[in-house]
Every structure is written in structure tokens, then in C-alpha cells.
């Protein structure tokens, strides 16, 4: 076996290459054919250059949003799985995405369009929602002391999601017609954000989240073998748990604030990555961020082009792939 340093370099290089390909190919392909020569032709004024407008205003922000959302959701999945010692944990199965969606919904519906301490309120409210949902699930896990069994985890997640969905429906009931149209589409998981503002708004939260994640991988390896065992190997378990929970809530909150509760990324991506790089979180976490980004760009590409010129919500695509995948994992976990 190669030493960890070599494996880390090859892993990051390979998954970065995949992401670069997706980032380059993503904005070029779409329902309308555009010519790259025209896009970068400086002699045509931007206002008259339809190809450049499609590239820079419609597609590029969308591809960047897909990359950030995919990376954030995949990383959150990795963190939840290690912390709860259960490979079926993810922002969706735990109801954390639903919590974030409720937070964002409330902010959108009641027009909290202002900024708080320099940050826009919608992503902050989304973060608060995911943190609350996670707090409930984690209290359950802590009470169990040995992590959550698959049964308890899924039941808690289903209950949490059902409860929060009721609150989301109630919020919608209070909203007026135009807002309802907007939020219903957003709840399906969409990335046609039409500009860079939504991405820039959540960028600070994402940077903090990824910064927190960077401190975690080795501690996650140890915690996945049991909290007491990890403590006896020198891990500061309470501090690691706090860092991980805040980081994952920030990442999920930011991702949901941009694209709505896009499902299954946090479960599909870490599993595919583990098949390739093994279980060491120093490889799994960065590879999942990079591959999550690639995966969501690709899914969104399918959503944009499959029934072109009609666009599907990308959340529908990830759910169509993720649902069967999840069932297969569930069957395997019963073996």
C-alpha cells in the first residue's frame, strides 16, 4: 500500500481533474447551442452578444452553484456518517435538509430580504433551521451513547422530515400566490439562480464550513470506531463533535439556501468515493467535496438537456438516481 501522503496527492489530483472537466464542459452544453468563439469575442458588445450572455449569466453561475452545493452536501454526508457511525446518515435522511428548507422558506415567504451583520438573512435562517433539526437528531444519538442504529436513525429522520414538511406546508399556506410559485419550484431543488448574487451571499458560510471540515478527518476516523475509543486515542471528542455539527449545519444551510433541498447527494457521493479511495477520512472528505461538485454539475446538465427545451429540477434527477441507490445500500446493510 502507498503511504498516505502519496495517496492523498493522487486522490486530490484525480478528483480535481474530473471537476475541472465538469467545470469546462458544463457551461458549454445546454438546450441552446452556443459558440465558444463568439462567447469570448471581445469585438461584439456584451449587450448584443447573446452567446456570451447565455454563458456568463445563465450557465456559468449555475455551474458554479452546482459545484458549491454538491461539494457542501457531500461533505455534510461524510461528516454525519462518521459522527453517527452509520453509513446511511446524510442531510436528507436525518431531516437536516428539511430543517434548512423550512428556515429558508420562512425567510423567503415573509420577505426577510435584508442583511444581518453584513450577511443576507435567507442563508442564515436556513443555517438556523438545519442546526435545530440536527440538534434534535443528535440529542437522540447522544442519549443512545453508541451511535444510532439504522432503524432508529431512519425513523428519527422520517419523523423529523414529516413534521418539518407540515410546517413548510403551513408556511406556504400563509404565502401569497407569486411567492408560492417561487418556493414550490425551489423546494424541488433547482439551480437556475440567474446570476452570481445567491452564490456570493453564501460564500462566507461555505468558506467557514470547509475551514472547519479541514480540521476533522483524522478525528472522524477515530470517532467512527466509538467515542470512548477515540477519546482514549487522544481525540477531544466534545470539541470535534461541536466543530463537525456547526460545520455540517453551515454547509447544509448554505447549500439549501442556494438550491433548495436537493436530495441524496450526501449519500450517493461518499459511497462512490469510498469504493475508490477506501475509508480513510483524510481521503474521503476532500474527494467527496470534489466529486460532489462534479456529480451535481453532471446531474444539472442532465436536468437541463434531457427534455430540452424543458428544464427539469435537478432535485428530481438526483432523487431518481438516489432513491434506488439508497434502497440498494439499505438492503446491503441488512446482510
Amino acid at each position: 500500500m502507498q503511504p498516505i501522503r502519496t495517496r492523498l496527492v493522487t486522490t486530490v489530483a484525480a478528483f480535481s481533474a474530473l471537476l475541472v472537466i465538469a467545470l469546462v464542459v458544463g457551461p458549454v452544453i445546454g438546450s441552446t447551442h452556443i459558440s465558444l468563439a463568439r462567447v469570448f469575442d471581445r469585438s461584439i458588445p456584451f449587450a448584443d452578444n447573446l452567446d456570451a450572455q447565455i454563458f456568463f449569466i445563465a450557465r456559468l453561475p449555475r455551474v458554479i452553484a452546482a459545484a458549491l452545493v454538491g461539494g457542501a452536501l457531500a461533505a455534510s454526508g461524510v461528516v454525519f456518517q462518521a459522527l453517527l457511525r452509520n453509513p446511511l446518515a446524510s442531510p436528507d435522511t436525518l431531516g437536516v435538509s428539511a430543517g434548512a428548507a423550512l428556515g429558508a422558506m420562512v425567510a423567503i415567504t415573509f420577505h426577510f430580504d435584508f442583511a444581518f451583520a453584513g450577511l443576507p438573512v435567507i442563508p442564515l435562517s436556513s443555517f438556523a433551521g438545519s442546526l435545530c433539526a440536527l440538534g434534535v437528531v443528535y440529542a437522540l444519538a447522544a442519549a443512545r451513547h453508541r451511535g444510532l442504529s439504522t432503524t432508529v436513525l431512519l425513523l428519527a429522520g422520517v419523523t423529523m422530515t414529516a413534521f418539518i414538511t407540515a410546517l413548510i406546508l403551513f408556511t406556504q399556506y400563509l404565502a401569497d400566490f407569486t411567492d408560492t410559485f417561487r418556493t414550490v419550484r425551489w423546494l424541488m431543488g433547482v439551480l437556475d439562480i440567474g446570476g452570481y448574487a445567491p452564490v456570493l451571499a453564501v460564500l462566507p458560510m461555505l468558506l467557514v464550513a470547509f475551514g472547519l471540515f479541514a480540521t476533522l478527518p483524522r478525528a472522524l476516523d477515530l470517532i467512527s470506531l466509538g467515542a470512548d475509543a477515540a477519546a482514549s486515542r487522544g481525540v477531544n471528542v466534545p470539541r470535534t463533535e461541536r466543530t463537525a455539527l456547526v460545520g455540517a449545519s453551515l454547509a447544509t444551510g448554505a447549500a439549501v439556501a442556494i438550491g433548495g433541498p436537493i436530495g441524496f447527494i450526501g449519500i450517493i457521493v461518499p459511497h462512490m468515493v469510498r469504493l475508490v479511495v477506501g475509508s480513510d477520512h483524510r481521503l474521503v472528505l476532500p474527494a467527496s467535496i470534489l466529486f460532489g461538485a462534479t456529480f451535481l454539475i453532471a446531474s444539472d446538465l442532465v436536468a437541463r438537456t434531457l427534455f430540452a427545451p424543458v428544464e427539469m429540477p435537478v432535485g428530481v434527477i438526483t432523487a431518481l438516481v438516489g432513491g434506488p441507490f439508497f434502497l440498494w445500500l439499505l438492503l446491503r446493510s441488512f446482510r
Binding site: R218, R233, N236, R282
Partner: protein
């Protein structure tokens, strides 16, 4: 090297007992009460006691995984509370009764995790750490399955790998929670031999809990007898392991004889008192 002075401990919240007198009120479930003991360098101490007597809790308190509600545990004359987790882990390693990996770690992955307290925050294991891990695998006879997935190992193999992971911590003190509980008699002897050799050859001090009185007699130089969170006996194995002690601990009548071939005390349970 390790000294526990009058330590007490209770689990809060979930593991509570309720009596009619305190209906509706959470009662603290006292697990350990005023326990004192000391472990000398090179010692091999066994903790005996019935189920629920607080053996595992005592081990976790000695390893600083839990903090006592009152009393202090001192390591090299310094209270554990004054050490960081990392500093404790460089000296004391803990082997839980059972280890399960939710992900497919390889055996060498698991053993390398023992290097955690010796590495800086973002440092990766180097060739030296791999050397230490390989030697720990060899010392426990688990070198042949270095590349196997941990979850595919048998109970005995897993136990040896986890001990190897603890050895990779380069500890002076090894705490083991019922190291042979899940093993068949062949693997029991194997682990027993391994522990005795580590103690004799490497000078690793050990404290282990066990239900196996004959293992305790064969392996341990001194015994701590624990019942309902109280120490009811502490001393050299030969003096402490008596029919009276076994009756006190387990309500079992037993014959304790010196075995003709092994020359060690052997316990034969006769029946419940």
C-alpha cells in the same frame, strides 16, 4: 505510576434507577463509590467483579476517558484533569471490550490510528509511524492480515488488532476491558500469552477487567475486587483470590486449589450459595 484516590462516579440522565420513594425524580445511579487503588510501573492488575459492579467505568476513569465526580486520578503524580487528552493518550491506551468499524477500514488503517496522539494537527503518518504500526502488528501476531478489511476478521483477530492499535500508541500503561470475553478457549490462551509477553518483555504496565477467574489467576499479579461500586479487596492474587472473596463477589461457592501441573491457583465453581 497511576493512583486513584477516593474516586466516585455516577451516570446522569439515561441510566437512572427509580424507586417508589423518589417516583418521578431522577436518581443518580452511583456506579463507583470512594474507590482507591494504585498501580506500580510494570504491574499487572486485574479487576474482578460481577456484572454492573463498575469495572468498565473504573477502567475509563483510570484512562481519563471519564472524569470522576469526586476524588482524583493521578498519573506520574499529576492529576489527569491537568493533562490534555493527547498527553494522556501518549502514555495510556485503552482497549474496549468490543470494537466495530462502520466503514471498511483495513487492519493497518486501524493500527495506524494509534499514532494519532503522536502526530501534529495536520501531520500525516511517515515511514517511522508505519514501522511502529508494523511492529505492533507483529507483536500481536496479526501481521498476516495487515491488508485485510477489519470487519471481516474473527473476534479473536479483531481483539489482537485493537491491542496492536493500542500498542502503536507506545503507551506505558495499557487498560483492557474484558480482553477475552468474546473469544473461544484457543484465542483466550493466545491473548493471555500475548499480554503476559508484552508485560514481561516490553515492560508495559497493565490493568484489565475480566470475568475469567482462572485467567486472572494465571495472568495478574494483583487483583482489585469490585462489588456494587465498592472495593471489597485489593492485593496480591495469591492472597485475594479465596473462596470467601468469590462468595462475596458472585454468591457462588467455589473451590480454590493450587493446580498440580501449573502451580497456579485454580478456581472450580461448585454452585450458587
Amino acid at each position: 505510576m497511576l493512583r486513584a484516590a477516593n474516586i466516585s462516579f455516577a451516570y446522569r440522565g439515561i441510566r437512572t434507577t427509580r424507586s417508589p420513594a423518589s417516583a418521578g425524580r431522577h436518581v443518580r445511579n452511583v456506579v463507583l463509590n470512594d474507590v482507591s487503588l494504585h498501580v506500580e510501573r510494570g504491574d499487572l492488575v486485574g479487576i474482578l467483579g460481577p456484572n454492573g459492579s463498575g469495572k468498565t467505568t473504573l477502567l475509563k476513569l483510570l484512562g481519563g476517558v471519564y472524569s470522576p465526580a469526586s476524588g482524583t486520578v493521578t498519573l506520574d503524580n499529576r492529576p489527569l484533569a491537568a493533562w490534555t487528552r493527547r498527553d494522556i493518550a501518549r502514555r495510556v491506551a485503552f482497549v474496549p471490550q468490543e470494537t466495530q468499524a462502520p466503514f471498511d477500514f483495513t487492519v493497518i488503517d486501524i493500527v495506524l490510528m494509534g499514532r494519532f496522539p503522536h502526530l501534529g494537527a495536520f501531520a500525516l503518518e511517515g515511514p517511522e509511524d508505519l514501522d511502529i504500526a508494523r511492529r505492533a502488528l507483529e507483536a500481536t501476531g496479526s501481521a498476516p492480515f495487515e491488508q485485510r478489511a477489519f470487519s471481516t476478521l474473527s473476534g479473536g483477530e479483531k481483539q489482537r488488532v485493537v491491542i496492536a492499535s493500542a500498542l502503536a500508541q507506545s503507551p506505558q500503561l495499557l487498560l483492557l476491558d474484558e480482553p477475552t470475553a468474546a473469544l473461544d478457549i484457543g484465542h483466550q490462551i493466545e491473548v493471555q500469552t500475548l499480554l503476559r509477553r508484552l508485560n514481561a518483555d516490553r515492560g508495559v504496565t497493565m490493568v484489565l477487567s475480566t470475568h475469567d477467574l482462572n485467567l486472572a489467576s494465571a495472568l495478574c499479579r494483583r487483583l482489585v475486587l469490585l462489588k456494587d461500586g465498592l472495593v471489597v479487596g485489593f492485593g496480591p492474587t495469591e492472597e485475594v483470590l479465596t473462596p470467601d472473596a468469590i462468595r462475596t463477589l458472585y454468591n457462588v461457592d467455589a473451590v480454590v486449589e493450587r493446580h498440580a501441573r501449573t502451580g497456579r491457583l485454580t478456581v472450580v465453581p461448585i454452585g450458587r450459595t
